[in-house]
């Protein structure tokens, strides 16, 4: 299966590890992965701040960059939701471009969604390098994809050595919201402290956060508050299990 990675601008700059974990795990599950280098940003910040014309220009570029991809997979739920919820309506007055958008949207998947719906992967048989206790934060924009946290948690639980514990108020927004975190930093700060406090209560070593923005926000608050857990994308956890298990098999 041919997959093109839409890494997103935040992951490109701040979390190359997450991007590489997506590449390596997709390859492990039998995909051939390419990375169209002309990609930039989906236009979400412009759209969300009331600049649809600017978002539209970026949507045209995105659709063009990925025009011959079979599947487009992204580690970010919110970027995927931007594409799925808004790209078609952005071209309401341009039938040709709208058709292209519809075709593009139908090929776009968020990483966990792609693993579970298209690849239908099973993680049993994969083992983590060492036992680890996880909790899971539901990134809000999965709502836009009609998704729940259930598939990600199910995958996690299949990994050997993974223990799972429920996060209180798991579905409550962490307070990122793009420019919201800067413009309304007091409110956003109160929200992210709440998230970290709930995380501390779980006793988990790792909180799974499948979105670049949420990860920066919760991770930054964890560091400021000296919280005893770290924030990781599920792709990083799966990649670690893939690598460890492959190593074990070789030896």
């Amino acid at each position: 299966m041919k997959v093109s990675l839409f890494v997103t601008c935040l992951t490109d700059l701040f979390a190359p590890d997450v991007g590489m974990a997506v590449v390596k795990t997709l390859e492990h599950f039998g995909c051939s992965v390419d990375f169209p280098t002309a990609q930039t940003c989906c236009g979400q910040p412009a759209f969300n701040n009331g600049f649809p014309a600017e978002a539209r220009a970026l949507a045209v570029k995105m659709i063009d960059v990925f025009h011959d991809a079979d599947y487009i997979v992204t580690p970010s739920g919110s970027c995927c939701a931007m594409i799925r919820d808004h790209y078609i309506e952005l071209f309401h007055d341009d039938p040709d471009q709208r058709k292209l958008a519809e075709d593009f949207v139908a090929r776009c998947y968020e990483y966990v969604e792609f693993l579970t719906k298209i690849l239908k992967v099973d993680m049993t048989g994969l083992t983590l390098p060492k036992d680890e206790k996880f909790t899971y934060h539901f990134t809000c924009h999965l709502r836009g994809l009609g998704a729940t946290g259930e598939p990600a948690i199910r995958l996690l639980k299949q990994l050997g050595g993974a223990q799972f514990t429920e996060l209180e108020k798991s579905e409550q927004c962490c307070g990122f919201g793009g420019t919201f975190a800067i413009k309304y930093s007091d409110i956003s700060g109160a929200m992210v402290r709440d998230k970290v406090e709930c995380g501390v209560k779980t006793g988990a070593q790792t909180m799974i956060v499948n979105d670049g923005g949420c990860a920066m926000n919760i991770g930054g608050a964890c560091h400021r508050m000296e919280a005893p857990f770290r924030v990781r994308h599920i792709a990083q956890v799966i990649a670690a299990a893939v690598e460890h298990t492959a190593g074990a098999n070789v030896s």
């Binding site: 190359p16 280098t37 800067i182």
Partner: protein, 490 residues
Amino acid sequence: MTSTLESQSAPKRRMSLPVFHPDFMTEAHSASADTALHAALDNSVTKKDYGRRSSLAELPDADGLRQLAGDIKRHTLDHLDYYLELLERNIIKHGGKVYFAATREQANDLIVNIAQRTGSKLVVKSKSMVSEETELNDALIAAGIEPLETDLGEFILQVDHDHPTHIVMPVIHKNAAEIGRVFERYFKTPFTDNPQELAEMARVYLRNRFNQADMGISGVNFAIAETGSIVLCTNEGNGRMCTTRPRIHVALMGMEKVIPSLDDLPVFLKLLARSASGQALTQYTNIITGCRRPGEHDGPEEFHLIIMDNGRAKILAGEYRDTLRCIRCGACLNACPIYRKVGGRTYGSVYPGPIGALLTPLFNGLENHKHLPHASSLCGACFEACPVKINIPEFLIKLKRDQVEQGITTAPERIIFKLWSWGLRHGWSYRLGQIAQRVMMRSIGNKDGWIKKLPPPAQGWTAHRDFPMPPKHDFRYVYKQYRAIQQRGK
């Protein structure tokens, strides 16, 4: 001279909703730091939100029911003139009188006139958000008529000269001790913070006053066009007292509250209490059709229904029509992570929370409430909770678009977004931007990989949390290396 010039400049648009706390940022700043408020809100609204979910899960197809409720509302709004006329005819048929008020001032005048004509001195009120919208109590007092709130929460607020901060739980911002002090001052009795004792004090006082009242005022949860009935959903029983005991009953409704027929009512009844509080039904559901008929022993002698526009027709005519579906259940407030951190007061006007962030600028003008559309992380919890499927985040984005189009968005912000999106249209400028950000951030980051203080305009971020320093190489570099090594391996 300057003041003369200023007073001659274009008058500010008339506000359809009263504004109690105009400075959003100041309110947000203090509420965000108030951890006692957060704990209190978690204990009430967050719990109600979980109650909503579990009570909706009991239904065979809650989502389908929400869709149906939204569709009924949409249909009614699309034919609002027809249903309002039908409602009017049927109310009159049952001996009631119907009035249309274009503004909140007109609505108040109509009520004051009815009170004066009927010689009403004491008016008992059941909880009504729309009467908060018109500031009815002030208008009654100005005319020498005594209004008395009989919903426990509203009563506490009235005697403390305070405003509701939640659509359904008006006094949510006060704890038992604060209420105890309010009653200690008002009733001049020894302090107690025992909720049961406090409720009993209010109950004894209110019982007595119900008997003295000449007129009762209620809101309207639903008005049924086909039967000419109004429906009141309450938990305390005071609504029933207000609408049966006094000689005169006046009901005040926003014009969007009408539904076509009695058959539609169960759809909303199934959703309203579940969405508001997780109850299957409110304790009392009153369907009131007209006033006392000849030969009947009780009920008011006169029934008056006031149907108010106050800015709704303008919203109905535009692309925000769906916002008028709102049935004021408060579910979006309970689900909202921001409401849970700032409380209702911060939203400044009558309707707080996500629906308030939408309605207040629509009623009062975007220029008067610049922050409300922006102070949202667009998480979508409100849309998910809404029993009539109002896509609140989508509408907030549209309001921001309107701000840009109307020139309300500041010039620097407009320039930043235009430059930013231009930069992202080209591979080279994207790369340049990413490199510039990396170099800048790596120059101010600590050895541990974190930035403690970002420069303006991003300083707000680091006021509350650290910012990750970008690693030395971006993804595309690492990816290229990875592929190069694979190539060499072959």
